[in-house]
């Protein structure tokens, strides 16, 4: 019987990890909390992926097809309820929605439990996400864009002025989220392009502290947004949103000009960052892997080993380890799968040696 790798989480990282394990001749057991595969990109209705604008569902379908393999056992609507053992000899209990528990023996584990979007109710500014219908988040906008429309939720009419506010829930010591969430600059710019495509008459603004468009995102997203789609980038931040004459008055400072800004908008999109998902926190605790002070799974071998956790035989892939874009996620998934299978095989060899 080939070595088994337990993969926790059926988002992009988990799907890719399971597929890689099978491709390398191992066996994978994939456990997913929801009844469908695809993770946050599916659950949060991602439309087009950053930066290449390809369809999110088409990309996910490729990953889903990858786990239709006799060497991969998929448990949907399931969660880990118990876990014990050490590298080469882990035992996990997988409990389904019906309460039935299956015992899984695995030589290694890949944790791919992902992130959740920051809840804008926790921000310390006064954006009023739960107060104003036309204040929405990146995933809220994504849901509309996946239906090929972008309107003011309060009226159903297309907006004239749209603003994105960056760094909501990120880079903030007071919230305990000191880190940059890494993808929001690109995702906001991508959505801005989509809005401009849908609504050529709408003005779209991005209010930022620092634009973080590293590598190819610079030329593939940032420059086209400015040069072809006339998205207006304003270095300035917003501290308050108030309802005025049926629209939204955003108040802040244009820091380049050193002057106050008070601009009427129709829709304001909060670029919410990443936080560890509930699943990441729960699974980390159950597996006994160390979390960093933000609750993400710690990778003490950084920078040369971005997938090893504090427990030998347990690896992590994707945003369970901190803010990640999809490129990083997929790279980590392959690496974690390969290392997990190698760890399971090494442990198997040692065990076999001891028996003989």
């Amino acid at each position: 019987m080939p070595e088994t790798v337990l993969v926790v989480g059926g988002g992009p990282a988990g799907l890719e990890a399971a597929r890689t394990v099978a491709q390398l001749g191992g066996r994978a057991v994939l456990v997913e909390r929801r009844d469908v595969l695809g993770g946050t990109p599916d659950e949060s209705h991602y439309a087009a992926l950053t930066p290449n604008m390809g369809s999110a569902q088409e990309a996910l379908d490729i990953l889903r097809a990858g786990v239709r393999d006799p060497a991969i056992e998929v448990h949907l609507g399931a969660r880990l309820s118990a876990f014990a053992g050490s590298a080469g000899d882990f035992t996990a209990s997988v409990t389904g929605a019906d309460g039935a528990t299956t015992e899984v023996k695995a030589g290694a584990v890949v944790v791919a439990t992902g992130f959740q979007h920051f809840d804008p109710g926790r921000e310390t500014q006064m954006y009023g996400y739960y107060e104003h219908a036309d204040v929405i988040t990146l995933p809220d906008a994504e849901k509309m864009l996946s239906e090929h429309r972008f309107v003011r939720p309060s009226t159903g009419e297309p907006p004239r002025n749209v603003a994105f506010i960056q760094c909501v829930g990120s880079r903030d010591r007071r919230l305990g989220n000191d880190y940059c969430s890494k993808v929001c600059c690109g995702v906001a710019s991508k959505e801005a392009i989509e809005i401009r495509r849908l609504l050529p008459d709408a003005k779209v603004y991005i209010f930022y502290i620092d634009m973080r468009m590293y590598g190819y995102w610079e030329n593939e997203i940032y420059w086209p947004a400015q040069e072809q789609y006339n998205v207006n980038y304003i270095r300035g931040i917003v501290t308050e949103i108030v309802a005025k004459e049926g629209r939204l008055l955003m108040k802040g400072e244009d820091t380049t000009m050193g002057r106050p800004l008070e601009v009427l908008m129709d829709v304001i999109v909060l670029s919410v960052g990443m936080e560890p998902s509930r699943g990441t926190r729960e699974v980390a605790a159950l597996l006994g892997v160390e979390q960093n002070r933000f609750g993400f799974i710690a990778t003490p071998g950084e920078p040369m080993d971005p997938v090893g956790t504090s427990v030998p035989g347990i690896f992590v892939a994707g945003a369970a380890a901190g803010p990640k874009d999809l490129e990083d996620t997929m790279g980590m998934a392959g690496s974690a799968a390969a290392k997990a299978l190698a760890a399971a095989r090494q442990a198997g060899v040692r065990t076999a040696g001891a028996v003989s």
């Binding site: 310390t124 500014q125 007071r174 501290t239 108030v242 400072e253 820091t255 106050p260």
Partner: protein, 435 residues
Amino acid sequence: MSDQPLIKVDRILEKEHAVIDGIDISGRWNRMFSQRSITEYPTEAMDWITGLDGGESLRDCYQCGKCVPVCPVQHVGSYGPRKLHVKVLRGNNLIDDPDLWLCTTCGNCFRVCPKEVNPLQIMPAIREQAVLQGKVPDELAQAFANLQRQGNPQGESPRKRVDWAAEAGVPVPLIGELGRPVDVLWYVSDYTSYHPRGKDAARAMARVLTALGVDFAILGPEERSDGDSARLAGETGLFELLAEQNIKAFGKYAFARLVVMDPHAYNAFRNHYPRLGWTGEVLHYTQFLAEHVERIAWRSRLDLEVTYHDPCYLGRNNGEYDAPRKLLAAIPGVRLAEMPHNRANGYCCGGGGGGMWLDGFVAEHVSERLSERRVREAVATVGTDGSGVLSVACPYEPSRFEDAVKSTGNDGRIVVRDIIELIDQAMQPLPATTA
């Protein structure tokens, strides 16, 4: 000269009137060009400020700018913690900069700061250095001198501190004369003791405490200013002197808790006197009365539209928003309407952090007083038909806001009342005349 337009282009300087060695070179004859390029970034100013006890966090600013739009001074001028950070990064140590004295330490910037840069510590730290160098605006220096000599910023005699009590209509016992422990030592504070409108609040408080049967007494002439605003204005030594005097007086008598009229005193006793050796229970009077609100016997209905101004040092900086509102809601006939800036986002009256004693200085650097801006907000909230009330819970405010009511042309259209005055009024048996 009047037909010679002054050039307003940036970096071109031209004086309208200039005479050098007896030669009139007014107007274009004295045109000069200031240097345009930045040729160095001296780091000494930042190193010096962050080396001060309390100045450390200035360096942490990452220029996001969230502080500036919520800064009350920015609303009436060009100012803000982010802008101070830029100045310091460019080598200005702020000692000779008017900006040093504009901060009211209201704390709204700190509320929103993602890096926890704290001007409530930074500004007093730099100001202390200015005080040591004798670079203090004259009017502030006068208040410091009064505090030093008389124990109050007005420079009144300590013996007159209890004069208000003669017209309270109820006995106001001095703890030194009682010779027994009391439940409540009522710390009256400076403006409540000496300012005409403050005295109104003091008398109302005495009547309300008496009607509730509270076992209370005051320090009287032994009371000194709490010193908190002097501390925030940079006079740490003076603060410590005043605190020492108050702590000595507190130590002479037995009382269960301290009840204060002034949020600045509340802040001092709660957060700063402990490290100087006094610890005990301290309540703002709104907190104390909120505990007893069910026992208040109301006798009049006020029929007023009331808005409430959160004092920075009761609300944002000490977290008490509900007690004053609970009291207002209990007064028969009072309809509470919130201003757009309320609770954690309350707009500063301009009196904190030494602002009380810098009105003339600050006026030269702002387009209107913070108190005037706040009064406009109150008027927009409760209207101008005469039934509107701007209620307050800090003795700095009646005088500030009443001046602002007049200067904004709202005399007779809105009134300013301490919450204790409204409570006292509604407890009186006679039908109330309009507040």
